[in-house]
Symmetry: C2
Subunit: 241 residues, 2 copies
């Protein structure tokens, strides 16, 4: 399983992903699910992936090839983020179709992607690309998109993420959301990657990687757990009044 | 959708359920999902249900009939809670099979149940009964069972519920878990029912029903939200150190 998150803020983007991959319950590996593409200076594009690893690796490889082989349609030639999502969606859905036809019992080639970034002339945005190739973007009311094991970590996002939240606060919140998910589902695990993108900077180098023993991750987990426990002891006592 | 929860503690049981039922997105109704059975004084039995309403209504009706028609095997004649879960599982799975055969596209007769209670000679226990009729019980490490929309409300249970948690604290925690779920999924909704059962009392009358405007529910939601917001502002600031 996987948990990836893209938060779209007035100030820019915060992208967060775990790194645990499993084929069955006993074949667990570590793969980064965050790909930063090297593109022209007028754009920056990042892909987060959940689902079948063979499918998502193919998509990333194909995107790279299209750039190097100077295909008419590639990450550098498209003028809008939504067109870029269309383009990636086509690669994704056609690859899935190829394997769906001879689908063995239990085998699922499906994958879901988050495309995030900015192309000059437009705002920073994120798109969730479905296995069918279509996509949605976030809104002011719901300024984040999630793929993979999304439910455990959603309540904390609903409480704290607003369009005017700062990049740093959103990054902290995304780590709390990730930590809640890891505590409830062992198939989501570190290292955790966090990328902060400042609007109009076209710079995706502010990227952090937190291993399982990272002091900040441990400190944050302990602080959040302690505060929640304290909060719980201060709740109004159960009453039928 | 539905969210039901059975917590098994040293002190007894806490059972919590919502009341929202939907057939499709636009046919939403209110049904209690908690059934307290009138049985002999040496036992107390409560059923929580999630899934197809026609299926769960049939199961409850059949259990009542078996008692009144004095079938050899009914809630009053079985000596163990696990046998009772077997018995209910058979009613459940045979009813589901009947409709699975002519299954229309998108139609799902499946349902999942939580049986909780105590039969003299045994401890208070809870069983989750699957659509196939088999069942699991809780453990010291995971002293609760959930059915329906279980993920949003799980992190708070993982943090606070231990076997030695008091009935009142567990009831408060179950309402916070329910509230987190309602905030993230509109298909789970009030009234919320809570039943507290004290070990060896064989009394299931300590039952509460919280409507959407119930002062305690509002107070608890506000207090929890305020404390979480305060906790979030006090978190160690995001850092790569």
């Amino acid at each position: 399983m996987t948990y990836c998150l893209a938060i779209t803020l007035d100030a820019g983007l915060v992208l967060t992903s775990d790194s645990r991959t499993n084929a069955g319950i006993d074949q667990v590996s570590t793969y980064s699910k965050m790909t930063r593409f090297e593109t022209h200076a007028d754009r920056c594009l990042v892909l987060l992936s959940a689902g079948n690893l063979a499918t998502t690796q193919f998509v990333v490889e194909q995107i790279h090839r299209d750039i190097h082989e100077s295909q008419a349609r590639n990450l550098n030639t498209l003028s809008y983020l939504s067109d870029t999502a269309d383009y990636i969606g086509e690669i994704l859905s056609s690859r899935i179709r190829r394997y769906s036809e001879n689908e063995a019992s239990g085998f699922a080639p499906e994958a879901t992607l988050l495309l995030a970034g900015q192309i000059q002339g437009g705002p920073p945005q994120a798109y969730m690309i479905y296995p069918q190739g279509n996509h949605i973007t976030s809104s002011k009311e719901t300024p984040y998109l999630q793929i993979g094991e999304s439910k455990y970590g959603k309540p904390v996002l609903d409480r704290f993420i607003r369009p005017d939240t700062s990049l740093l606060d959103a990054a902290t919140c995304s780590l709390i959301s990730m930590d809640s998910t890891m505590q409830s589902n062992v198939s989501v695990g570190p290292p955790i990657e966090v990328l902060m993108y400042k609007k109009d900077s076209y710079d995706i180098s502010t990227h952090y990687r937190f291993g399982v023993e990272h002091p900040y991750l441990i400190e944050l987990r302990k602080a959040w757990g302690d505060k929640l426990r304290q909060a719980f002891t201060e709740m109004p006592r159960f009453s039928e009044q």
